[in-house]
């Protein structure tokens, strides 16, 4: 029997720092909710709005798989591995923090707001050598299709990470229905609605709502509005 947890948009943690307007799906920084600590190995899902030219100065990370998906605008990234890049909407960035890495993240545009999703997963291996990658997503392939954008395998579609996790992104026409098969036994799916309204396993979800589902091998999906956009995060439910 499948189990689920519903996280409505307005139940997320919220922190408005002026230049940064952040919504936290799980406990993060000063937002602490014991009921919202993680979904399996998915520990952080931050929905950040960052003012033009503003951002996070150099700061360290370790032992975390960090995925950044710009939804609008572009982010300028620099890190201690020597990477310097701009990641824009339609691209994905991944960083394995491993033994330790320092990086900065700024809105690359002075006059445009940046909206990004930052997602942190516990790694399946501690103290790995830090690594960085970014890719351009095939936006056309995600029309009426859950297009894989992340996996555990370097030779598979999308970026790869040190975790048995698969992310898929899709944008859908009104009325489009499909089924998503969970990639690995023991994994669950955290479905986050970026835009529009959808129905997943009978639950109606609006913009920025999320549904976590586990103890099942597939989920049913229907787009209720045109342009519905959903990110599926297929992750181990047990912490490694």
């Amino acid at each position: 029997m499948s189990q689920f947890i519903l996280h409505k948009e307005n139940t997320r943690g919220h922190a408005n720092h002026g230049w940064l307007n952040a919504h936290h799906s799980f406990s993060f920084a000063n937002y602490y909710n014991p009921e919202r600590m993680h979904f399996g190995v998915l520990r952080v899902l931050n929905d950040d709005l960052i003012d033009g030219g503003m951002g996070f100065g150099a700061h360290p990370h370790d032992n975390m798989e960090i995925i950044t998906i710009p939804l609008a605008g572009a982010i300028a990234h620099k890190d201690s591995m020597g990477n310097s890049a701009v990641i824009k909407n339609g691209e994905i960035q991944v960083m394995s923090a491993g033994t330790g890495v320092s990086h900065s993240e700024f809105n690359a545009n002075a006059d445009e707001q940046l909206n990004l999703l930052q997602i942190w997963l516990f790694p399946n291996k501690k103290n790995v050598t830090p690594r960085y990658d970014q890719q351009t997503l095939d936006v056309a392939a995600s029309h009426n299709n859950f297009q894989q954008i992340l996996s555990p395998n370097a030779d598979d579609a999308g970026v790869w990470i040190h975790q048995d996790a698969w992310f898929s992104l899709g944008n859908f026409d009104e009325g489009f229905e499909t089924e998503y098969k969970i990639k690995k036994a023991g994994n669950g799916v955290y479905a986050f609605v970026i835009n529009g309204e959808v129905t997943i396993n009978g639950q109606v979800l609006g913009k920025r709502d999320a549904l976590g589902i586990w103890d099942t091998d597939s989920i049913s999906f229907k787009a209720n509005t045109a342009g519905a956009e959903v990110l599926l995060m297929d992750v181990p439910m047990e912490l490694n």
Binding site: S27, P60, T99
Partner: protein, 99 residues
């Protein structure tokens, strides 16, 4: 009364940041070290409420460290700190102290 938290991690930059983060809260006293010998010495010298294991501690060292620290102070809470910064710190500490 302050909660005394010992952080052990191999990366000096992260250790410096952790010291700043932990000691920024008046209710916490953070002691941050890079070596197991320093950690054991501190554990011998003073009361600790919580130990955070940071980056770069391999499985063998972690096992030995846990055994030594809990040998000195039975029941001492020892948890893994993930992320190396402020994002998860408060939640990790509150969860550990409340359980």
């Amino acid at each position: 009364m302050q909660t005394t938290i010992l952080y052990i991690g191999r990366d000096t930059e992260i250790t410096t940041v952790m010291s700043r983060l932990l000691n920024a809260r008046p209710e916490w006293k953070g002691i941050c070290v890079c070596t197991d010998d320093e950690a054991i010495a501190i554990c011998n010298e003073q009361h600790l409420d919580l130990v955070l294991l940071g980056n770069g501690i391999d499985a063998e060292c972690e096992k030995a460290l846990r055994a030594k620290l809990t040998g000195i102070r039975p029941g001492l809470k020892i948890i893994q700190h993930y992320g190396g910064g402020s994002g998860l710190l408060y939640g990790e500490i509150m969860t550990a102290l409340n359980h």
